[in-house]
C-alpha cells in the first residue's frame, strides 16, 4: 500500500508541478490559484454564506419548489444570487479537493499535521452534506434523486421505525418536517464548518485564511460574471409518480450517482466507508518509514540567548519560551516534539545556531558547505546555486545546473545566512539561492523568512559586510527548471560585471559561529 501510495503521489506531483509552472507563467506566484486552494475554498464558502442569507429570506418549506421558482423568476437579482450560491459552493468543493490533493502529494498530512488532515476531510464531508441538503431543499429532479438515495442509505440502518424511503412513494404528501429538517441542517452545518475551520488551522501559526485581495476579488468576480451570463435554470420539479428523466445535475455534488445508484445499498455502504477510511488513513502510507523520518528540532541550551526568534518564526507553534533550569535570567527555547514537523526553519532563525534538527543546525550547515567547497575548485566568477530540495525547478536533485554546482538544503527556510556569508567570503563569484515560491513552501513560511533574513534584516540576517550584489534570491516552482536557468544566466551576467571576488583564506568556522553568538549569555 505504501509503495502504491508513493507511485500515485509521485505521478500526481509531476502533473501538479507542470500545472504550477504554467499558472506561475500566467499569473505569477503571488496570484497562482493552485497555491491558494485552501484560502479560495474559504472565500467561496464566504460567498455561499452571504448569498445563502438572501436566499433564506424567500425560501418556504411549505412550497419548496414553488418558492425557489419564484425566487428565480420574480425576486430582484434572485436568479443571479441563486446561481452565485451554487457556483460558489461548487468552487468550494473543487478548491478544497485540490487543497487536500496538494497536501497529500507533498506528504504534508502525517505526524503533527494529521489533525489538519483529518479535520480537513471532515470539513469537506460537511460541505458536501450541506450541498446535498441544499439540493434536496429545491425539490427538483436532482433533489428528488438525492433524497431517494439518502433514504436508501439510511434505511439500511436500524434507526427509524418506518423506512424513510416510503416518504417518497407518492401515496401521501411529503411532510413539511422533512423540508424543515433539510433547512435546519443546511443552516446549522455551516456553524460546524466554522468550528472545524478553527480546529483545522489550530496547529499553525499565522494561518492564511484569505488569498491576496486581487485573487479574492478576481475569483468572486468571475463567479458573479458566470452567474449573470450563465444563470442556473430551474430543473423540472420533482414528481414522485414519474421516473426522473434527463435533467441538469451538479457534478461537484452528484458525481457519485452514476456509480453508486446501480449498486446494492450494502455494497455502496462498504464502498463509501472503505474510501473514507482510505482517505483518513492516507497519511500512514505517505509518511516516510520510521528510520527515514527527520528528528524534531533540539535546543542547545548553552547557546540559546532567549531572543525568541525561533519561537516567532516557527510556523507550527512548536517552540515555547520557558524558564531556564540553570538559573540564568533569560528564557530558553523549548521544542515540543509532538508539534515539530522538523522543517528546520528555526535553524535558519537562530543567530547563535543553537537550535534545529540534528545535522541541520546552522553549525552543521557551515560544516557541510565547507566540505562542499573543499570538494570543488571554484573561481572568482563562478556562481554557486543553493537549492531547496523540494521545489526550485528540481535542480536540487541534479547536482549542477548549466555548469554551476548545486548545494542542496532540505528547505530554503532552513538555510542559515552565515552559509551565504561563508560562500561569499570564500571567494565565489556569486550565490544564487533558489527557493520554492513563498506561497508554495512545504513548510509554510520558509521562503518568506529566508527573503526577510536576506533582504529585510530579519534575525538571523545576512550581515551588512556581505556584498549584496553577489547574492541573489530566486523563487521557482518544481516545474520551473527553465526559469532557474534563465535566472542563473542573468545573475552570471551581473557577476561578470563585478570585480573578481576576493578570497579570504582559512575562514574560521568556529569564529563565524562565535561572531553570531555576540548576544549569547556565557
Amino acid at each position: 500500500m505504501r509503495r502504491l501510495t508513493g507511485v500515485l503521489a509521485r505521478g500526481i506531483r509531476r502533473g501538479m508541478a507542470r500545472a504550477d509552472a504554467a499558472m506561475n507563467r500566467l499569473y505569477g506566484w503571488r496570484h497562482n490559484p493552485l497555491y491558494m486552494s485552501g484560502t479560495l475554498a474559504v472565500v467561496s464558502l464566504a460567498v455561499v454564506l452571504v448569498t445563502g442569507v438572501y436566499l433564506l429570506l424567500y425560501y418556504r418549506i411549505g412550497a419548496p419548489y414553488a418558492s425557489v421558482a419564484r425566487l428565480t423568476d420574480q425576486v430582484w437579482a434572485g436568479r443571479w444570487i441563486r446561481s452565485l450560491h451554487r457556483y460558489a459552493s461548487d468552487a468550494a468543493v473543487l478548491a478544497a479537493a485540490l487543497h487536500a490533493l496538494r497536501l497529500f502529494v507533498q506528504a504534508r498530512s502525517w505526524g503533527p499535521r494529521a489533525l489538519a488532515w483529518v479535520s480537513g476531510l471532515v470539513l469537506l464531508f460537511i460541505v458536501f452534506v450541506c450541498g446535498w441538503t441544499g439540493y434536496v431543499m429545491v425539490w427538483d429532479v436532482q433533489g428528488e434523486v438525492l433524497a431517494r438515495e439518502g433514504a436508501r442509505f439510511f434505511d439500511l440502518l436500524p434507526l427509524f421505525s418506518e423506512p424513510i424511503g416510503r416518504a417518497f412513494a407518492g401515496d401521501r404528501t411529503i411532510p413539511g418536517a422533512f423540508f424543515f429538517l433539510n433547512l435546519f441542517l443546511h443552516v446549522a452545518l455551516p456553524i460546524g464548518v466554522g468550528l472545524l475551520l478553527w480546529i483545522h488551522v489550530s496547529r499553525v501559526a499565522r494561518p492564511a485564511i484569505l488569498p491576496p485581495r486581487g485573487l479574492t476579488w478576481g475569483v468572486t468576480g468571475l463567479l458573479l460574471a458566470l452567474s449573470v451570463f450563465w444563470p442556473v435554470a430551474m430543473a423540472p420539479a420533482a414528481d414522485l409518480l414519474r421516473l426522473p428523466g434527463r435533467a441538469p445535475f451538479d457534478a461537484f455534488f452528484s458525481f457519485w450517482l452514476p456509480v453508486v445508484r446501480p449498486m446494492p445499498v450494502g455494497v455502496a455502504w462498504v464502498a463509501v466507508l472503505g474510501l473514507s477510511a482510505v482517505a483518513l488513513l492516507a497519511p500512514l502510507w505517505s509518511r516516510p518509514r520510521a528510520g527515514a523520518r527527520q528528528p524534531p528540532s533540539a535546543v542547545d541550551e548553552r547557546l540559546c540567548t532567549g531572543c525568541e526568534q525561533c519561537y516567532l518564526d516557527c510556523p507550527y507553534e512548536a517552540i515555547a519560551m520557558v524558564t531556564r533550569a540553570d538559573g540564568r535570567p533569560t528564557l530558553v527555547a523549548h521544542v515540543d516534539p509532538d508539534r515539530c514537523t522538523s522543517c528546520g526553519i528555526c535553524a535558519g532563525s537562530c543567530a547563535p545556531m543553537g537550535v534545529g534538527p540534528a545535522h541541520r543546525t546552522g553549525r552543521d550547515q557551515l560544516v557541510q558547505v565547507a566540505s562542499f567547497l573543499a570538494a570543488r575548485e571554484l573561481g572568482a566568477r563562478d556562481v554557486v546555486v543553493i537549492a531547496c530540495g523540494r521545489g526550485a525547478g528540481g535542480v536540487g536533485a541534479a547536482g549542477s545546473v548549466d555548469g554551476a554546482p548545486v548545494h542542496v538544503v532540505q528547505c530554503a527556510g532552513n538555510l542559515h545566512s552565515s552559509v551565504v556569508e561563508y560562500l561569499v567570503r570564500s571567494g565565489v563569484g556569486g550565490v544564487l539561492i533558489v527557493s520554492c515560491p513563498p506561497r508554495d513552501c512545504w513548510n509554510r513560511e520558509g521562503a518568506k523568512w529566508l527573503d526577510a533574513r536576506l533582504n529585510h534584516d530579519r534575525e538571523a540576517e545576512l550581515k551588512p559586510r556581505v556584498d549584496r550584489r553577489r547574492v541573489c534570491l530566486l523563487f521557482a516552482a518544481e516545474g520551473e527548471r527553465a526559469a532557474v536557468r534563465a535566472g542563473l544566466r542573468t545573475f552570471r551576467a551581473v557577476v561578470e560585471t563585478l570585480d573578481a571576488a576576493s578570497r579570504e583564506e582559512e575562514i574560521d568556522l568556529l569564529a563565524l559561529c562565535e561572531h553570531s553568538e555576540e548576544g549569547a549569555v556565557s
Partner: protein, 182 residues
C-alpha cells in the same frame, strides 16, 4: 507578470470558469430506459392477535402498585401474503410481516415492478396468512383480505401507484394510468 501574457491568463480564467459552470449543470439521466412502473406502497396497522390472561391476586401483589394490570396480553401481528399479477402473470409474491424488536410495527409494503408502457391488467391480492387460533383475541382494522383488479394505461417512465385507503378499507389506484391521472 508581463503584459504579453495577461490575455492568456484572462482567457484561461474564463475557460476555467465556464468549465465550472458546465460541470455544475451536466445533463444526467438517473433512470435509464423507458419502462413504466407499478408501485405498491402502503402502511397499515395489521391485525394483532393476542392471548390474554387475568393475573391472580398473589401475582399482582408482586408487581409495584403503579404497574398493576389485572389482564396481560401477549401476541403478534398477523403476517400477510402479497401477490401481484400483471396481465395474468405473477410479477411478485412475498409475505409481509411486522418489523421491530417486538414485531409490533405496522405492516409496510413497498414494491416497484417495471412494466412496458401501454395497457396492462393489474391484479393485487393482500391476504392474511393462516387463521386466528381459537381463544385468541383480534385487534386491528385491516381486513382479512384486500383485492384489486384493474386496468392501467401507462406511458414511458410513468408510475401507477397502488395504495391502501384506510378510510374505505380497500386498495386503490393512484397516479398515472387512472382516470384522474396528473
Amino acid at each position: 507578470m508581463s503584459v504579453a501574457i495577461r490575455p492568456a491568463g484572462v482567457l484561461v480564467a474564463l475557460v476555467a470558469t465556464a468549465a465550472l459552470g458546465a460541470l455544475s449543470q451536466v445533463p444526467y439521466t438517473s433512470e435509464r430506459g423507458s419502462d413504466a412502473y407499478v408501485r405498491l406502497a402502503w402502511r397499515a396497522r395489521g391485525e394483532r392477535v393476542e392471548t390474554c390472561r387475568r393475573l391472580p391476586p398473589e401475582e399482582l401483589a408482586k408487581i409495584p402498585a403503579h404497574m398493576r394490570r389485572e389482564e396481560v396480553c401477549e401476541g403478534h401481528v398477523v403476517p400477510y401474503r402479497l401477490l401481484v399479477t400483471v396481465d395474468g402473470v405473477t410479477a411478485a409474491q412475498e409475505s409481509v410481516a411486522s418489523k421491530g424488536a417486538r414485531a409490533d410495527r405496522p405492516l409496510y409494503v413497498f414494491l416497484e415492478i417495471p412494466v412496458a408502457p401501454g395497457r396492462h391488467r393489474l391484479g393485487v391480492a393482500f391476504a392474511r396468512i393462516g387463521a386466528i387460533p381459537a381463544g385468541e383475541r383480534e385487534r386491528g382494522t385491516l381486513p382479512e383480505r384486500l383485492d384489486l383488479d384493474t386496468v392501467v394505461s401507462l406511458g414511458p417512465r410513468q408510475v401507477a401507484l397502488v395504495t391502501y385507503d384506510e378510510d374505505r378499507a380497500r386498495l386503490i389506484l393512484k397516479g398515472y394510468g387512472t382516470p384522474n391521472a396528473p
